[in-house]
């Protein structure tokens, strides 16, 4: 029996992606689509696209999609979910969208225990607009708007979103994963699947923070970016589960 590995999931439309070489968005899109396929929920899923490099996710995912203003995806998702509680609703957001302009919407959706899944792509930089500082840019990191390296006394400190949200009642799952190697990609997929399952069980707000690369704006090759992620991002943003109501036995 011939088994084929690497089939495109049905929930990921056969449309060429526009991402840069070495960008990890494509992997995460595929994982979300695979989870949607495996749970058989494409027909009742509504995705909310945000603003950033991933603005075109409405072209890539096969489920119904709504485009939100920058930062507002959690509020738009709330509107969809409250109107259609039987639908599975997820947002796909970058670090600027979720943690800068959208921080208010994020925290309040989490506090409301809004039954949505937020897929959070953290690559410590603003990709789409050409590489400016993000709320998660590391101290000393050079970006277009921190050309001498991020000076925390002037430009503030990076925000650890999973840690922040873990203190919020209403969060069912806050887990940080990455996709730098096969083992971590598989773990990321398990986390994403858990998040969607929690939504269907009505447990509350789930956020999966995916530590990601941006080779273009980090100014590196794809391979170097992966190494840089391991050497610099993971020590500051450790992988792990920051909140899981399932494990705590709480509902």
């Amino acid at each position: 029996m011939t088994k084929v590995l690497g089939e495109r999931p049905k929930a990921l439309l056969d449309v060429p992606l526009h991402y840069c070489p070495g960008c990890t968005h494509g992997i995460v899109h595929r994982l979300v689509a695979e989870v949607i396929d495996e749970l058989g929920i494409e027909g009742k899923t509504v995705g909310v696209a945000s603003v950033g490099c991933s603005v075109f996710t409405y072209n890539y995912f096969g489920c119904d999609m709504v485009q939100a203003p920058h930062g507002r995806a959690p509020a738009v998702a709330t509107g969809v979910k409250r109107a259609r509680p039987d639908n599975v609703v997820f947002t796909y957001q970058g670090d600027g969208d979720l943690a800068a302009i959208g921080m208010g919407e994020t925290v309040h959706a989490a506090a409301r225990g809004e039954n949505i899944v937020a897929i959070f792509i953290n690559n410590a930089i603003y990709g789409m607009t050409g590489g400016q500082m993000a709320p998660t840019t590391l101290p000393g990191m050079v970006t277009q708007t921190t050309p001498y390296g991020r000076d925390t006394s002037v430009a503030g400190n990076p925000i650890r979103v999973c840690e922040l949200l873990s203190s919020v009642n209403g969060v069912a799952l806050a887990e940080r994963v990455t996709v730098d190697c096969v083992k971590n990609v598989k773990a990321a997929k398990r986390a994403i699947k858990k998040a969607f399952e929690y939504q269907m069980a009505g447990k509350g707000y789930c956020i999966i923070e995916v530590v990601s690369t941006c080779p273009t704006n980090w100014g590196m090759s794809a391979g170097d970016a992966i190494q840089w992620l391991r050497d610099n991002m993971l020590p500051y943003y450790p992988l792990g589960v920051y909140k899981d109501v399932g494990e705590e036995g709480k509902e």
Binding site: T2, K3, V4, L5, C23, G26, C181, A222
Partner: protein
């Protein structure tokens, strides 16, 4: 990313080919050594690789 992920190191960028996007795509240098682990398919962001395993 597949190049890095392949445990048998049989993938590399083919500098003799330029695809329609202007990049050198990955290619298999020794198909016989492939163990069908699928690591490449797991790391590919574009669903560009399919591995048939008998």
């Amino acid at each position: 990313m597949c190049v890095i992920a392949c445990p048998k190191k049989i993938l590399s960028l083919d500098h003799s080919v330029t695809n329609s996007k202007g990049y050198h795509p990955a290619h298999v240098t020794d198909a016989g050594a492939c163990i069908g682990c699928g690591s490449c398919t797991i790391m590919c962001p574009d669903c560009a690789i399919k591995v048939e395993v008998d």
